[in-house]
Amino acid sequence: MQLHGWGRYPRIDSEQLEPASIEFVQAIINDKGFRDSVIPRGGGRSYGDSALARNVISTRFLDSFLQFNEEHGTIRCGAGVTIEHLLRVAIPKGYFAPVLPGTRFVTIGGAIAADIHGKNHQRDGSFCDHIERFSLLLASGEVLECSREENVEAFVATCGGMGLTGIVLEASLKLEKVPSITIRRESLVSANLGECIELIEKHQASKYSVAWLDCQAKGEMLGRSVLHLAEHEECGSQEFRKRWGPTVPFSTPAFLLNKYSTKLFNNALYSLRKKTAGVKIVNYDSYFFPLDNIKHWNRVFGRKGFMQYQLVVPTDSAKVALTEILKLVADSGKGLVVSVLKKFGESNENLLSFPSAGYTLTLDFKNEPTVFALLDRLDQIVLAHGGKLYLAKDARMSENVFKNSYNNWEKFVEIKNALDPDCKFASLQSKRIGLTSQV
């Protein structure tokens, strides 16, 4: 069947296996002589080709909870459990996920493999900082127990390792105790990028912080944005709720998304968010998962799909680098929707984890031939400032760019080769960026 990531580019014909339980995953790895490479797949919410290969093993049915220690807030569950289900169980008991991505459809396995970050990285680190242990199925069929005490090398390579070390079967996660899940959101408007960065720096103590940026504004208004700070309310709801919304039934013809329509849209969004400036009590799902309400929203970018480009640059050079980047993007008129700007705290010891001290910017682009040259130019700016790109979003970065920005890639390959000597686990992405060989 044809598979793709959330960006619907690229696509590949692959055989997808959906084992009904952990024992079946093991049986597949033991019995099946795969002719081509294999990669695990969770919710398919990575944008590019991280979860694409000729053979894909879905963790969809590894979705059971195994144990919940309500006193300590540790929960053990299958790798296929989604953030949504995690919240369903955690919230009524007064707990919350320590790190949340922008969609509730991400799985625990995918969150570990990309060592995902939330709007609180500065304060709470990334997802794997809250993982206590996990079991990892190796290519040999052996199951390895990994933690910061046991099989440490496998642990630091698997956290952020994009499924290349093996299949995470189940994991233990430490949840966070919160007073309520009602969110008190404060929105601050800034007229340009400089102001926005100043505001972020000033409000570093805020629990959650994310800026929505108009990537088409130019000149004086370059980088104009609305910063959303947020805290959990002391008294508020302790109830899981799910919003229902419309579905995008099929791909929108791509020509409807042109320079003018997106500019209009970005303008409208900016003024809408600006209007909501000030303090507001909001639901956690509308704060954390603003787009989840529209099913299949990725279809609006047309059949050819789209690409998300997420970069991080060190704090010192952030203003200069981001100005250069936003200028190029605004002049090209190709940036879609609204961009997101966040500040990261320090990096952790995981070899391929993305977050590192600095500013991270997320931009969306429709997949069209001219975009690739633009992105190549952005790569050069990112590299020049000592930054890097997020593998979970990437569909096109070159081997050269990858190896010049991820300093620990050689150490990663060394551990990967020890864990998977025949290189069974590989994705389109790992082959493209030279983490595994091309064949």
């Binding site: 009904a20 024992e23 909870f65 919940f68 369903r88 169980v89």
Partner: protein, 244 residues
């Protein structure tokens, strides 16, 4: 709420159980794979189930049904809902060339279900309340070339339930026949999936709503009622030539 779940490790059954676990139901689970049964029990406890008992059993072993169902009743004390979910999708071609295969399929999907309904009905009649819900299939609506052995078993159960419904009415016992269309579950692992397919979670939501609102025959999703009405309306001289 006390629930007897038969074929509990089926994807649809699991999804239904999770909804009831959030409502703090107590369960008695029957399934044939011990390890997966244990996994499901742990999962339901974490999701809020009040209590769980279970029994490992090959459901085609009809001689044990009376005892097993009585044990379940003893453990639960009361029985609010009994949901029968197990089934297999046999290879039609091998059923045509080898009666042993057809017999097996008819046993799992048909006779074992009738046997279980018999035992559950006895208990519900005495109790004077409760709901018996059975998952059949749209495949039972008309015998079609690709799966008429499976379809025959399912239609047998549907016909049986139609009669049973009336018989149990005076005892205040409700009977629901749930007919899913195409569901993306382990049963259909090798199939190419398209827009008509739904998920076990979606089916489960509808199963629970139908039990809540005491429906009789439920198509899941609802559009299958229209599709099957159309299929049923095709004249036989045309239908016999169709490989659908």
């Amino acid at each position: 709420m006390k629930i007897l779940l038969i074929g509990a490790t089926s994807a649809i059954a699991k999804a239904v159980a999770r909804i009831y676990a959030e409502r703090h139901a107590s369960f008695y689970l029957l399934a044939r794979n011990e390890e997966r049964l244990k996994e499901l029990a742990d999962d339901l406890i974490v999701r809020g189930a009040a209590a769980i008992n279970s029994q490992v059993l090959d459901l085609t072993d009809t001689t044990s049904h009376a005892e097993v169902i009585q044990n379940a009743h003893k453990a639960l004390e009361e029985l609010d809902i009994a949901l029968i979910c197990h089934g297999t999708l046999p290879d039609q071609e091998s059923c045509e060339s080898d009666f042993a295969q057809a017999e097996k399929a008819l046993n799992v999907n048909g006779l074992s279900v009738v046997s279980l309904c018999t035992e559950v009905s006895k208990i519900l009649k005495v109790q004077g309340s409760g709901t018996l819900a059975v998952i059949t299939s749209v495949a039972g609506d008309r015998g079609r070339q690709p799966n008429f052995v499976y379809g025959a078993a399912k239609s047998m159960v549907s016909t049986y339930l139609q009669g049973l419904r009336g018989k149990l009415l005076p005892y205040n016992v409700h009977v629901i026949d749930i007919r899913p269309g195409l569901v993306d579950s382990p049963m259909t692992a090798g199939f190419e999936k398209g827009p008509l397919w739904s998920t076990p979670e979606l089916v489960a939501g509808k199963v629970v709503r139908s039990i809540d609102s005491k429906k009789h025959t439920v198509y899941v999703p609802g559009y299958w009622r229209i599709i099957m009405a159309f299929v049923a309306s095709i004249p036989e001289f045309i239908f016999k030539r169709l490989k659908i």
